[in-house]
């Protein structure tokens, strides 16, 4: 997989120190205002920065293909001439046509960009960026200008193309769903890269509270970590919960903890008593039920309030109703701990 190490320091328009590795198609995620676009623009040379790669080079001397959020196709040029823009020489139009065909836009060369759909504009912009023969591709929110229904399919196609090309590519996005389709993920928060792992690792084990929120953790609470008989327990509003954190990183003291809505298990009345887990079972009452597409979002309250997300087949088996009393199980392996943060 193509790799590129980035180590950038930016002072303006926001202070940012980004050290990350771009591995294949890499998602750059973070809350809005974290500096994702700024880092991309710095890599293009459009924002002053110091560091590697391309240190100090003017934008026109960097081999970078940049696809900005709205693609920035030249409105006074046809699709073909847009792609031919960075090319020189007598055969530039033929080479541009070949690139258009490569992104499956061959028949659209004569069309002005205004007459193309969002997905088509994106592919023309990709062909134009490729005409530059870049060492690195940068994509800023590639799905934001597309219809939600088409977004995944088009991004899949884009990802496939980028894999075929064998170029390292950095995709800035605030959309966790899109990030899941990438090979690698870097998380930007408060001016630095706080985590970089595969999407599966980041989604299951986000390292910071803001990131957990961004990735869809809805149950987040304060608590206190205690060590008992060689095991960690979490003192919470609902009593003691067993957790299995990496003991190398955690020391007893105040922490934030959370669990994903879809990782809480519901134990109905009929659940065989001998199979009820020994730990982390709480008695709650169903306060609210709301359908969300094919899943059911349930709010439950007891000593603490939780949100649950139940797939259709689970709800069909449970038949939950508002006011019903149930037990829920918070599996120790799914409880995530986050460092105490000032703005948490």
């Amino acid at each position: 997989m193509p790799e590129l190490a980035v180590d950038y320091r930016i002072g303006w328009p926001l202070a940012l120190s980004a050290r990350l590795t771009i591995r294949g198609l890499t998602a750059l995620v973070g809350p809005s205002g974290a500096g994702k676009t700024t880092l991309l623009r710095a890599l293009c040379g459009l924002v002053p920065a110091s560091g590697q790669p391309f240190a100090g080079l003017a934008p026109e001397r960097r081999r970078v293909g940049f696809l900005p959020q709205h693609y920035a196709l030249f409105p006074h040029l046809s699709a073909l001439d847009n792609v031919a823009y960075p090319l020189r020489g007598a055969d530039r139009r033929e080479r541009a046509q070949a690139l258009l065909e490569r992104v499956r836009m061959g028949p659209f060369g004569a069309r002005p960009p205004q007459t193309l759909s969002g997905g088509q504009c994106q592919r023309v912009a990709l062909a134009r960026a490729l005409a530059r023969e870049p060492d690195l591709l940068l994509l800023d929110e590639p799905a934001s200008a597309l219809e939600p229904a088409l977004r995944d399919a088009l991004f899949d196609e884009l990802a496939e193309l980028i894999h075929e090309l064998g170029l390292p590519a950095l995709v800035a996005t605030h959309d966790p769903h899109l990030a899941q389709q990438c090979d690698w993920m870097a998380v930007l928060d408060r001016g630095r890269v706080v985590q970089q792992q595969t999407p599966a690792q980041v989604f299951s084990q986000p390292r910071t509270l803001p990131l957990a929120r961004l990735l869809g953790f809805r149950n987040l609470f304060g608590g206190s970590l205690e060590a008992r008989a060689g095991e960690f327990v979490l003192s919470t509003g609902a009593g003691m919960l067993r957790v299995v954190p990496d003991s190398r990183h955690w020391r007893p003291g105040p922490v934030q903890w959370g669990i994903r809505s879809d990782e809480i298990q519901v134990l109905p009345e009929s659940f065989p008593a001998h199979r009820v887990p020994a730990d982390n079972v709480l008695a709650v009452r169903v306060r609210q039920l709301r359908h969300q597409g094919l899943t059911l979002r349930a709010q439950v309250t007891g000593d603490m309030a939780f949100e649950l997300l139940l797939p259709r087949h689970v709800q069909d088996g449970l038949g939950l109703a508002v006011g019903q009393r149930v037990r829920i199980h918070l599996p120790p392996a799914y409880l995530r701990l986050f460092p105490q943060e000032s703005d948490a």
Binding site: G45, A58, P59, E60, F66, A72, F74, P75
Partner: protein, 267 residues
């Protein structure tokens, strides 16, 4: 609600048409009053036409050469004294033409310090071609700069930046992206400057009574031969001055309707 909207539409159409008639009435009346059978120019009118067209063309060259970089800088850079530059730029526009003429004569005239110095080198800026052009430049440049700046501002900076990432130096970006996208707006700004320069009377009257261009010749004819005898030169004046801005205005409207990018804020 529908009824009310219809009345508003009808009312605004009526007001618009009345206003248009009000604007066109003098021109129609001129057409009616001109004695077309004995249509003839007075002595010296042709040379006034030549003077006006040739010197205005020179003035426009100077206005474009100096005004374009200034307009681009105002549109793209945050200059330290941006507001001050903008205000200073407006001075010639806000000064009554006669006053501006006197101001310029005080500087460039034979008794002005700069005029006196230039005179030593054989350059006279009173009643000469260069004086005529200088007066026109002062009178028309602000119109061009204001219009050109709006034209440049209408070009999205994203496009210029992406062109840089595609391997173009700032100069090439200007030529390949900024200029084509602002060309119509620049043309509109230039055509307004053209009309202002061509029709400039007050400043030119003081600085360069000679060589006589159309406005001064109209004034002279009016005094020497009376109102009706200046109609032919007046028609020539319209013929030279109006087609360019009207055509560009029309083109700009069409282009704006075809694509959302509107580099023609001058119209």
């Amino acid at each position: 609600m529908m009824r009310r909207r219809m009345w508003i539409q009808r009312g605004s159409t009526a007001v618009g048409l009345t206003w248009l008639a009000f604007l066109l009435l003098p021109l129609l009346s001129l057409a009616a009053s001109t004695s077309w059978r004995s249509f003839a120019l007075a002595a010296g009118d042709v040379s006034a036409l030549e003077t006006s067209v040739i010197y205005t063309a020179f003035a426009m060259l100077a206005v474009v050469a100096f005004g374009t970089p200034l307009a681009f800088a105002l549109a793209r850079r945050r200059l330290r004294a941006q507001r001050l530059v903008e205000a200073l730029l407006m001075i010639p526009l806000l000064t009554p033409p006669l006053a501006l003429g006197i101001l310029l004569t005080a500087l460039y005239g034979p008794y002005g310090w700069l005029g006196g110095w230039l005179n030593q080198w054989g350059v006279s800026l009173t009643n000469t071609g260069p004086a005529f052009v200088l007066a026109q430049v002062y009178a028309s440049a602000p119109y061009y700069v204001v219009g050109a700046r709006a034209a440049f501002e209408a070009v999205p900076t994203d496009l210029e930046q992406i062109a840089r990432t595609l391997g173009d130096s700032p100069g090439r970006v200007f030529r390949r992206v900024t200029l084509p996208l602002s060309l119509l707006g620049l043309g509109a700004a230039l055509s307004i400057a053209w009309v202002r320069a061509l029709g400039e009377f007050g400043v030119v009257l003081i600085m360069a009574y000679f060589p006589q261009g159309i406005p001064v010749k109209l004034w002279v004819n009016l005094q020497d031969y009376g109102l009706s005898s200046v109609y032919p030169l007046l028609w020539v004046f319209f013929l030279v001055g109006l087609p360019l801005p009207l055509l560009l205005g029309l083109l700009a409207r069409q282009r704006t309707a075809r694509r959302p990018l509107a580099p023609t804020a001058a119209f």
